[in-house]
Symmetry: C2
Subunit: 230 residues, 2 copies
């Protein structure tokens, strides 16, 4: 099985664990600041309509509707995660759509979105194609917001270069997880992804952990680029 | 004396040491890749006219003229460094111009520049004002290229946040150096500097050291931004 498929199927296999980890707040970085950071980044753009790509069990859709009063649509490739999202939010709009379906171009939405967000949901090697496929669903002044691992979250001694890595979820006490391949990108590579997708970097933020003065994540807000991509 | 003035006068005090350090190749990172990286970044834009701001003893002007065949103008606030540059390159165009003079707006040049470069020469806190002051001297498709310390060149345990630091040149055997205050910026801050100056990030590069697989520098290529700065 190639890594892209293994990545997608790891989410299906880990759906139950993941929903529990989010809802029981077992992921320290979220409380340390990454949850607040993504909500603040979205809030800056006062969206009427939000698309949450790789929404998982739906917390960001629920939070955005509650705190920002916008309409939110959540999509995810895992039917179990979408079922969990719908169960927690029966009136919410959730749909099983895979990244491959998005890239194949057959997906349509009722209207364009003011914010399209990928919150720790852009782990595949071919991120530019996915971003380029999502770009036509942006409203005229719409933005794409990406939160992801900060590139210097590398373990000591690892080479600083693009490549597949493996998340084994060993930080969780429950060992019943399926390993997830994910594609590490340098900072330079993230910038190139954005430009290749026909976007331009409007804002680059580094939400900070107060406990150690180090960045928790990389948070990119991207607008459509008028000229040709590089 | 405030830090901006101390920064400027440290270059005057260190001029002799600096010229020797560059010409005797005493700075390992330059051979490891930062010299080649800045020349390659300039070369991408095939400039007819180059402005090297904070040119020091002039190596980048000399190299650009020799290898790229462009016209080069070097400016620096240190009269000693400009004298050293002129001495090594009697036909070259060098001029003593301080950053304050650039920001005050009274400086004029014969014609606009296709590339304006700051190679380890943007160490002051008010970098946006300097960049904004230099922007009108760009040609229509001109770019500003900045090479600087990679933000994760922090020493262990230092907080990752903007602020003045002190370079004591202790890596050099010769101890006859005057300490130089310089303003450390996070990645997020660098991006904000670029946007505040009315520029947009065209390319973000991280020249790599082959010996340890870690980035040597941060290399930003910026174009004029059509819209309003953030």
């Amino acid at each position: 099985m190639d890594r892209t498929k293994a990545l997608a199927s790891s989410w299906e296999a880990n759906a139950g664990n993941w929903t529990r980890a989010v809802r029981e707040r077992l992921i320290p970085s979220r409380d340390a600041g990454t949850d607040d950071a993504i909500l603040a980044a979205i809030s800056t753009h006062s969206p009427r309509r939000l698309l949450d790509v790789g929404c998982g069990e739906g917390w960001l859709c629920r939070q955005s509707v509650q705190t920002l009063g916008c309409e939110a649509t959540g999509i995810d490739g895992s039917s179990q995660l979408i079922a969990d999202a719908q169960c927690a939010d029966p009136n919410g709009r959730y749909e099983v759509i895979t990244y491959q379906e998005l890239m194949d171009g057959g997906v349509s939405f009722e209207a364009p979105f003011d914010v399209i967000v990928f919150n720790y949901a852009l782990f595949d090697e071919d991120a530019p194609s996915l971003l380029a496929a999502i770009r036509p669903h942006l409203s005229a002044m719409g933005v794409v917001i990406i939160q992801t691992l900060h590139p210097w979250s590398l373990e000591q001694g690892q080479d600083y270069r693009d490549g597949w890595r493996n998340e084994d979820f060993s930080a969780f006490e429950n060992q019943n997880w399926t390993a997830m391949p994910w594609y590490f990108r340098t900072l330079s590579s993230w910038h190139q992804v954005v430009r290749t997708a026909g976007l331009a970097l409007l804002k680059l933020e580094e939400p900070m952990a107060s406990f150690n003065g180090q960045p928790l994540s990389l948070l990119l807000t991207c607008e459509c680029h008028e000229g040709d991509p590089d």
